[in-house]
Amino acid sequence: MTVQKDPEQNETKHLHSFADFTDRRVLEIGCGEGRLTRRYAKSSAVTIGIDLDRNALRVATVDRPARLETKVHFVNAESENLPFQKATFDMAIFAWSF
């Protein structure tokens, strides 16, 4: 079941027009398989993607480009109980999956 999601990358364009990721510490809630994460994380200082779906996180980790290995991490966590200290991130992305 092959699908192309946002081949024009409109989502990425809008995301970048709403936020400058340069050297930012980013938390992405609902990262799923990391499709969106891979499109912005390069310029961030560090990006943490969280999701409840362990299988999706496994795919996200496998598909993570080698150049992002040191700055992008995927964590199994729920948004109602974030395993991070106060004031850890400069920005958060609440990416509602569908």
């Binding site: 079941m1 092959t2 699908v3 192309q4 999601k5 946002d6 081949p7 024009e8 409109n10 989502e11 809008h14 995301l15 709403f18 936020a19 938390l27 809630i29 969106l36 948004s79 109602e80 109980n81 974030l82 991070f84 200290q85 106060k86 004031a87 850890t88 991130f89 400069d90 920005m91 958060a92 992305i93 609440f94 990416a95 509602w96 569908f98």
Partner: protein, 140 residues
Amino acid sequence: MVHALNEIRRVLVPDGFLIDLRPIVDQWRVEVISARETRETGRVTDLPLGLADDTAANQAMANAEAHGWFLREHEEFFSIHYAWDSASKMEEWIDEEWENFVSLDEETRRATRSAWALANADSQVRVKVKMLITRWRKRT
């Protein structure tokens, strides 16, 4: 949901911000596209759960704003496409992946299959999904 927003607020630095990025059900357009033309073949049908999800998300963000946790800075609607190589693959995806919030009626299925069958070999079937992006600034 409101508790999650409070958690996000907690882990953000003062003056940090939240990007809320989500699809909005809105009878998304179904199209068959080729090098020659783009033809609308129908619309998806919004299901009650999809509409309820949007309402709940809007309400949660409104509550967060009312609590003084976040300030709405900027908001835009835009569209993204989901594209498939055939009408049947599009139907399969909607029936399996989006079954809870949108559906396809028989007329749209027939029109899409027909338009795809008559189009060039390079044609695709796509759905134009409405998106909402909002930047919220953390209030201290």
